[in-house]
Symmetry: C2
Subunit: 202 residues, 2 copies
DNA sequence: GCATTATTTTAATCATCATTAAAATTATTG
DNA sequence: CAATAATTTTAATGATGATTAAAATAATGC
């Protein structure tokens, strides 16, 4: 039996959860690069210098691997949001911060983050959890917009559609960004401005 | 032998290519709704009231089905672009037209259009063709931006990043829009403005 | 160093669909 | 209607890769 084993959810166990996290990043990289159906567990394992069967020490099956990738992706977004809300001044400035932080995390050390295609093929409970996280995040973003409209920094707009537009842009990044640091820098430099350019109240 | 058979590429044959087109839409719908790995050929066939094996009359294999979905998606984008360029006045107005037309096609009769996850798992030739189409389209959009900057309707910006941002937003639509006409109307109403709001020269 | 636990590998097995071949049906054309 | 071609189905087959079990190795605590 394992004392601090695969079952435990807490991140207290450094050894195990560190390796697992490395695995999730490797998987995210594979999924983004080769597509979901295009990456076998062997691909992920190869990237880690392991054998495919070894992955099952960290994860029950491929579905769960995907699920965990998505949870991680959502976590990254949530952290960025939290930090932005903590530090932000008015609504618009907080939106800008959020965008900056989220992108910073995605293209930086925390990345890569898996693009969330294939949510629908998760098993129901996993799917629901991911969708819940996703909805919560969207709601938080819309709340930011609302706050900005209230404090006069953001021009009135359709919250849902504006949120979808900006989030879509963000979500698509992993589809074309694959780790080039030069590009990372440029995204970080340009995207927050581009995505928030249309928001400001006149 | 078939006189106007699966092999022929031309769209002259109405009977065959009409059905095939219906099939591509069904497939797109499935892929968007259930994910790629989550849709079996049977799912697509069910939607058409056919048996899975029947699909092979229209397509060599599942890979080719995906490929054709993507080509169709690209075609839709290209048509929108062409029409916008034909009708547009200045750069900014042409961008707005393009956005409107493309969205109109995506959420309207031409849709649904498959989201292009899984390009990487296409076989090399197909992948290259799709990527070429994709690159051409991006280039056309950037050209529009450039034109706008030249004629003074669009403020100077990083073409590549601005293009990526706007295209990403567009590409993500099939991930959350699944045919509700009310939503379709709202997207059409809001997105062109939202996506072009940041572009205008001051 | 021994005992125990953690991690990884080797070597099968299994399941799911995609795929195929042949037959059956349906449509078309002269 | 007869003949030919187009379309679909039935019924197998097959391939890929996920998954598992047992054994092997590596790490850790005493």
């Amino acid at each position: 039996m394992q004392s601090r084993s695969p079952g435990t959810e807490n991140a207290i166990d450094t050894r195990f959860s560190l390796k697992r996290n490395r695995m999730l990043k490797a998987a995210a990289r594979c999924f983004n690069l080769k597509g979901y159906s295009g990456t076998s567990l062997k691909d992920v394992a190869d990237l880690l210098g392991l054998t495919d069967a070894a992955l099952y020490y960290y994860v029950r099956n491929k579905q769960e691997l995907v699920y965990l990738c998505y949870v991680r992706a959502a976590d990254v977004g949530r952290e960025a949001m939290q930090r932005a809300v903590d530090e932000g001044e008015d609504g618009l400035e907080t939106v800008r911060r959020y965008l900056r932080y989220h992108i910073e995390y995605m293209v930086g050390d925390q990345g890569p983050v898996a693009i969330m295609s294939e949510i629908p093929s998760l098993k129901p409970e996993h799917r629901e959890k991911v969708l819940a996280l996703s909805r919560t995040h969207s709601a938080a973003f819309e709340a930011l917009l609302e706050r900005g409209i209230a404090d006069g920094s953001i021009a009135p707009c359709d919250l849902r559609m504006t949120g979808n537009a900006i989030m879509g842009s963000l979500n698509w990044i992993p589809k074309w960004f694959h780790g080039d640091p030069t590009v990372a820098e440029k995204i970080l430099e340009e995207f927050p401005r581009i995505l928030s350019a249309g928001l400001a109240a006149r």
